[in-house]
Symmetry: C2
Subunit: 237 residues, 2 copies
């Protein structure tokens, strides 16, 4: 699960990693044009691997790629974000039901462990970036037992978001999300597929609501308590 470990296996992978990091960190923003020669120079590689990385991001839906006209970072309207959360709600709810069908005891143990790590980290007041990562690991520990195709589909949905550090930076939010997780894990422990689906579905939409109130707060100018660390610190290297 850990990214950015050791040396990248190819220049393309390296560029892809850097681009995603710069995208998350806000160095590159929606609407920006991505000039392949500029990126190549910036990352110290030739245009060839840059082009391959751009093709991948275009297939992911992260960027718009028009033939002979270059690539631009897709901008994200609130409505698109809402749609994405609704799709996550459907898919991840379904994945929970499927997980119950196929979950071994060992799988279940790993899920419980992942949840405990997140709960503990929340209690200890760990930084939002780490909490967000632990949250992701918990979610995918559930989906791990479903099917490679299902996992990939959900990963594609997650890839469209910046890590939601803003959510995990507010104590009341993170404890609310932890509470949702407990509900999901209870259903999983009972091997109750429909209940797990329902709980996960509601959890994702709950996260969407929290995200909205968080955005509203920021729009009003009131900085949320325990704000996240500056995004620029997320930069990889």
């Amino acid at each position: 699960m850990s990214a950015s470990d050791g040396l990248p296996q190819s220049r393309t992978a390296y560029v892809l990693e850097r681009l995603k990091a710069d995208l998350d960190a806000g160095v590159i923003n929606p609407g920006d044009q991505l000039r392949q020669t500029a990126i190549a120079k910036r990352y110290g590689v030739s245009p060839t691997p840059v082009r391959e990385a751009l093709r991948i991001l275009a297939a992911d839906g992260t960027i718009d790629y028009t033939s002979h006209r270059g690539a631009t970072v897709r901008d994200f309207t609130p409505e698109m974000a809402h749609d994405l959360y609704r799709m996550r709600s459907e898919m991840e709810g379904f994945a929970c039901e499927l997980a119950v069908e196929r979950m071994s005891d060992a799988d279940h143990a790993r899920i419980v462990a992942a949840n405990e790590r997140l709960i503990e980290a929340t209690r200890d007041g760990v930084d939002p970036t780490t909490l967000s990562l632990l949250n992701k690991e918990l979610h995918f520990s559930i989906y791990a037992g479903t099917s490679p195709i299902v996992i990939e589909c959900i990963q594609l949905l997650w890839a469209r978001f910046k890590p939601s550090v803003t959510l995990w930076g507010v104590t009341s939010f993170s404890s609310a999300l932890d509470h949702d997780h407990t509900e999901i894990l209870d259903a999983l422990a009972r091997r109750d597929g429909p209940a797990a689906r329902e709980a996960m579905s509601r959890h994702v939409m709950h996260a969407w609501e929290l995200r909205q109130t968080s955005d509203d707060l920021r729009a009003t100018g009131a900085a949320p308590a325990q704000a996240a660390a500056p995004a620029s610190d997320v930069e990889a290297s």
Copy 2:
């Protein structure tokens, strides 16, 4: 919606088109190794655009791409196919509900028109390949009014399948699917989101069941009535 029109906008797009066509036609099969130099020679281009096309197919999930070790076409277990249909059932059901929320009268008219084209073609005993295409157009005419992200997500699920000419080659199957469509369109006409979702959900799983019985028939050696035209005829150029 029509593919393979005129000249491709780039060598990469051309290679992508050819690869998908060869994949559908059965020229390239699951498990096959894709040697980029061989493909380049075969299609009369240099390895560079071939590599870009392979990166896209890898992002789509159509092929497995391992660094420095080349690409192989993913093979498709029956269980994976089942999972894919279940995901389609979820996503396309949801898309129907979303479509009702956002559908204009003009959108609805286009959907009805697409359905009439398919019904008419079924009645006239048109070839299965065309029926399969019209079916796809009907489905996506419904999703057209939802959201670009939703459409892309569903397209990704559809991209994993060969066109199901086997299904539309059996008269009893195609009329059953047409019947499902009518049910969906009735719900859409009533602007009944939940009913449309439910109808579409069942329709996709119905298609899955038909596909299974079709596979069973072929396994028994009994060729289905009005079998599809030889797959090799689908080849583009």
